[in-house]
Symmetry: C2
Subunit: 271 residues, 2 copies
Amino acid sequence: MSSELSYPKSKVNKVNRLADRGKYDCKTVHEILMASPVVHVSFNPGSPEEYPVILPMIGKLGSFENPSADLSEPLDLYLHGYVSSRIMNVARKAAQGEGEADATPLKICVCATKVDGLVLSLTPNSHSMNYRSSVIFGTVELVMDAEEKLYAMKLITDGVLPGRYDDTRIPPDSAEMQSTQILKVTIDHASAKIRTGEPGDYEKDLKRDDVRAKVWTGIVPIYQAFGEPQVASYNRVDKVPGYISNYIKETGDAEKEYALTAIQKASAGKS
Amino acid sequence: MSSELSYPKSKVNKVNRLADRGKYDCKTVHEILMASPVVHVSFNPGSPEEYPVILPMIGKLGSFENPSADLSEPLDLYLHGYVSSRIMNVARKAAQGEGEADATPLKICVCATKVDGLVLSLTPNSHSMNYRSSVIFGTVELVMDAEEKLYAMKLITDGVLPGRYDDTRIPPDSAEMQSTQILKVTIDHASAKIRTGEPGDYEKDLKRDDVRAKVWTGIVPIYQAFGEPQVASYNRVDKVPGYISNYIKETGDAEKEYALTAIQKASAGKS
């Protein structure tokens, strides 16, 4: 579709290696992020550490200004965490500026990856995995507006399990509002990378009958599965609510189906 | 066990938030990394980009000097990739030094996360996930020694699927040896963080009969599942080899079992 919205290719987000696997349309990038229970967030905490830091966090996409926007439209990423955790402190310090220094909002990278299968080919070097990954590069601000914070809390809760928020004890009380910090990530650059298809081997191995006779080639599908819900010791509700059992059934089926249909799709690149 | 080897707590790796969930013993940190099909690797590519970068990569632990070492012992992390991919170029440049500058080996962070369940409690803020994550902070060197490179290639292939390497067309030929770059990460700091157990709610909600009567509380287990192996169009081997079907069966069962038994374990912290 020529009308689909895409992230522009830039020096930051361009997929160089196996470029055919790169995707830039909003829908693809956003769907992978939303399908991942956790995302990995990387930031630089500043001295004295010299290492970037990665945290697994829960992050969901939405638009406070345009709440009805779907995944093919421009969105922001909301991350939530405890108010005094390190990433929150670093983001706060960056937003406020330090001493004489001007404020320079924290820049982060967020990556979500789904592994869809082991790709088993004739030779170790052409082994691979079927996978989907999205990477975004963004600028962080702290959400201070109470209305936007509530919007993000519902977005994140329902992003993990649709329909859950309204079925819990809401709204969050003032202690909960204060102990939770929401980060809003403006997406500056983004891309996805996807491998689908069967294994790929080079002619040098495909023409060797001894190798072909010995080595099983194919894909082992991998997918995220859900088990039967287990009640808490203090639960008093008899039946698992329909929105939970339906979500588990539908998402579980879709995950399994994706891993299988991905094998039938064309692959890009040899390994 | 007082005799187990652990990573020392430092400013870099110490788990501050919900410190009870922090683990530092080699075995726990290493097991989570090895159980993850991909790890997330973060590095700073240097100017002109201001963002750290995250890449999903395949990484496995081993010791070339002490190949019989098990997961409770000190190990290195080996990552593999295409020789001219960006992380390889950045690592190479850092190892060689630039212009007048001395070599300063690349510092990276690597994180592996397994999500084991959705933790559904009475109020959105006490929702959580059962999970296991390992984070290591390390220093990168390029493996140039052919023997160590071969060791790492086998380690990585068998780390994904035990027994696979010897069942493929080996050894890698000279073109394959040249196009593959192995990175060896010396682990400078590391820790793990684990949530197990049932949901946790605060007294203020537990004593409310209206809330307890309405909100289902419990855990939805999540685990990595394997589908039936699917043959490649060019496969000529009749039967899926035993090491593949056994691995799928055993690992699939273990993953499912972990998600369930994790619920029975004690939890640390309220959410």
